[in-house]
Symmetry: D2
Subunit: 340 residues, 4 copies
């Protein structure tokens, strides 16, 4: 096995990443070494790179699809060659009220891939054996990579709206997350209204099955939704990294509706008290998904019901791709294809 | 039966109510005439009096405890002399998705007592036979009156936090609603933190069973709650008619916690996106309660587990009492006692 | 309007129905007269005809699709000519804990169409205005009729399994109820295993989208289901009017699975205590559906996702059709088409 | 540390246990050695001793309260001297849908203390570090021991009835489990009907707060419950190891009620189809509880709301105590007190 590997490393917050040749790490107790086949690029990587919390140097990337290359001590249930995914939840404590209660994503002692442990913008990455996702045999790595974060996050976010088949959901923002959300919502029997400011993205949403695809900032959007859905949507999933999108969501739900927030723009949004109280609105944050959510999210892909629109790129272009993402010029999801 | 009755009437928005002698109304199809024994005074009466929506003249008051005096055509199941309550929900359509689905309080065609139909600041009030609450035999009318709105609203609001026995709940604001909320929470097996700015009200909360009673604006309140509850409360019920109380609630819940809003201050409160998303917080409005919630809320009173602290007043003092309420000088609940 | 109408009347329990010319009834307070366009034939009609409870004479039939012909006093929201459905739930009290809590189907004072009030085996039927189902404009009456009982019953029964999109459900029995259940389950994003003893019915299930269609009595059925579903189905809907089907269901669910029972064979089935306790199995009865369930069930039909397979018959053949039903020789649902 | 320890060992199925001096085991990867202070005696021990599944020799006992004596490799978060509990769930796989989804008690690869790994009828027992329960400082070991199985099992079983504060629950059987169930139910805000065949046990139930305590086999029991609860209990917890108790439960619930089964008598009970379907009854098995349930169950004890009635015994009397248990002559719970 190789002793060194290519990696895109954050050496200084806010500065461009540096392509380096670094040592391949060795899996410790309970860990495996995963050969990265593909790794998606996520908005949250921007937080890691811009220095919100973790220490340097750091290899970002938390949408890893790869294969097990080596197995550390104390690992059972995994073998070399197994196709696996490595996601934002590197590991969790396993014993707190959240871990035991089916909410490991809220564990206060979790580690996060590409954030406070090294991630997948490299040829190899260390994963915690109990926290890898199982991929199907001979997967399309590049197409599966976005499911590891964008996919599971939107799938879980939709579940958190407490909608049921036959209900209407608004997907606000049809980017890397939203274009997957439209597909999950349809596969879950929901009726979909897609909202975006870009005509291309609305066209994409229509082609993926959205019954309605509307210009988010048009003055009659809320009215149109109320009319077509018979009083407003039952749920809204806000994927747009935009504070106006958050405030708009409150105008789009019917009484007793739920707004699920998965985007992470900085700041606050104003919540109107009368509307929320008199209409019994629920506003709920949702953060990635557990291993069980992941397994379900992957199953929809395996069955051909959800498929990521990707732009393949070489890892060496990471800085250009980060610039494209910041500028909102990415259609679907950028995936670094390590097989190229 | 008398042909006229005393009533406190809104003749002009924002002006003092006028005590008048008006005609006793006659119950129509499906209606009953209720002799008012007692009627509580609620913050929402201020909205009616200050002219947010309804037409004039109007008799406010929606916390009525009384007895059936006369029965209109097409009514079954009620008899003259039955003790009944008349609440905010005068009636609802009975056939919409909310009425049929157990959420009649969200019916878009509901009428509201003392708001768009005449209410209980009078010797008699018309009620919809199917929407009255059944009171126990020989009730203490004045003590039951506040349950018809303040009681059921807080009881429902606590249910909406999705907490379970053994969990911690913060009751923010220990006024007419909050002092009942503390008692409901205790009867429901919860641990209670009471928050208020008044020492008297905190003392009242302690005497009603709150494990902690803290000065809302003290700098270490959030820390103290986190420490005593092992990471933050599972739920927060915001009864305070105050925007800062809404914003503060977000600092008091643990991950996966729920904030239930029942107060109705005008305006908006700023919701911090990172906190809500990363900690999976749920914010939910809650508005009064259905007839089923009402029946449950009354049952706790009948069993002696919940008891309203009231200040009895004569209806003729309505304008003085409204001034006291606005000034925050009421302890517990003002009830107009028509038997005096 | 006609003063008399054709009707199939039960004059004596267990005896053939008699075709008679009887008076067209007049709608009373809160009632409407519905002109019957089509009425489905349901297993429960056999209970009515064989005399389990009601008094005679009786006109059976509770899957009515028709139009409002005349309106009684005190009715609002309906007009002559409106297309409506009349279902098992003729009316309910509207004020009990079940009616107010979203479970009107459990009201202890309900009346049932074709059971203790006259039903739709006639040219006209009286309905309670608040309890009719709203049908789309210009409906296919005969095809909608079975939704009024068979459709809503299976739709509700599937909801009661607490399964979610992506889960596996077994539909046990592919008759009048089961062939609709397969379609509802698919529209709700579920994976379906169909079980029956008839090859024709299994073929029908496959054509309606069932992923698996298995011979119910084959020795390896439980094993095959465990293998294909990865440990057993998440839910089982038992529509078969057969006690062995009830007992078999317990072998088909995975741990934490739910069995929903909607069929009504007489008698008991043996429940093995160890299996139910150690595997945390839930067994739940489900009875028709509320008006809200009905509205949702009809919506799936309106969207073209569910469609009843029917055999049209003339009302005069009612006794022959009852014999066919008892003999299990009906494919899909028999509907009396009053337009023929 | 001692190299050998006293232990009660099953050498032959169905034969008396043998007191032996055996080697103190050494904790392996992820394990701790626990010094047993007290160990309760449970009905399930009879299954282990009578040879339902596991291999011999075996040390039974799965209600262990003790202290950590030694720590194996790879363990974090525990120190020597920590007071801990060891329960039926020795460990689970940690990665399956049940473990990740908050239902580790259904893991198909779990090990069970005193059943397929050695248990606490000995001076020391091996535990899996991640699966021990945390006990409070300086606990009363003997009084806590029964909570580790009987306590958590009934607490979870009550939760599984989906009842809420103010509802009525029937606790059927007031033995080792039932006398704790009465206390949990009261602490959870429920109204309690206790059922048993023994006057002493009914008296105990009354003293623990049961509103009603009724002779289980009296002819008017179901009627009395229906009358006092206004239509039947909302939930029934069947702890009695008796098939008639299972069948009786169906007569005690109101419409939409839930019966939770935690006892494990062999065999089946007959389920009447009409009652279950028409009344929408839910029957649900419940098996012990997760670590989260355990933590909650212990918290009620720490707060003084639940307290086990115990009979202390020396481990050497294990065969006599087993005979007493079989004969139904135990009041509350037998606990082997290793400190004596």
């Amino acid at each position: 096995m190789a002793k060194t590997m290519r990696a895109a490393v954050v050496r200084q917050f806010g500065a461009p990443l540096v392509m380096e040749e670094v040592a391949v790490p060795t899996p410790q107790l309970g860990e495996v070494l995963v050969k990265v086949m593909a790794c998606g690029l996520c908005h949250t990587d921007l937080h890691a790179i811009d220095g919100v919390q973790p220490a340097l140097p750091l290899i970002p990337g938390h949408e890893v699809a790869g294969v097990v290359e080596a197995i550390g001590p104390g690992v059972s249930g995994l073998r070399e060659g197994d196709p696996v995914g490595v996601a934002w939840l590197h590991d969790a404590c396993g014993v707190c009220e959240y871990c035991v209660g089916g909410w490991e994503t809220l564990c206060e002692r979790q580690h996060n891939t590409g954030y406070n442990v090294n991630g997948g913008f490299a040829e190899y990455v260390i994963a915690s054996a109990r926290y890898v996702a199982r991929l199907p045999e001979r997967p399309n790595y590049a197409e599966l990579a976005p499911i590891l974060c964008a996919g599971v996050t939107t799938y879980k976010g939709i579940k958190e709206t407490d909608t049921k088949p036959g209900d209407w959901i608004v997907i606000s923002g049809i980017g890397g997350l939203g274009h997957l959300a439209v597909q999950y919502a349809k596969a879950m029997g929901l009726h979909v209204v897609a909202l975006d400011v870009s005509r291309d993205k609305l066209e994409l949403a229509r082609s993926l099955g959205a019954e309605l695809a509307l210009e988010a900032q048009a003055p009659d959007t809320a009215e149109a939704i109320a009319r077509e859905t018979g009083g407003g949507a039952h749920g809204v999933l806000v994927t747009a990294v935009s504070r106006p999108a958050f405030a708009q969501a409150l105008k789009l739900v019917r009484r007793k509706g739920t707004i699920s927030l998965v985007g992470l723009p900085p700041g606050e949004f104003p919540t109107p008290i009368f509307d929320v109280v008199l209409n019994r609105i629920t506003i709920r944050g949702s953060i990635v998904g557990t291993r069980l959510d992941m397994s379900e999210a992957l199953q929809f892909v395996n069955e051909g019901k959800v498929s990521a629109t990707i732009e393949r790129a070489q890892l060496e272009t990471v800085n250009e791709m980060l610039a494209e993402l910041k500028a909102g010029r990415v259609n679907g999801r950028v995936v670094f294809d390590l097989l190229r």
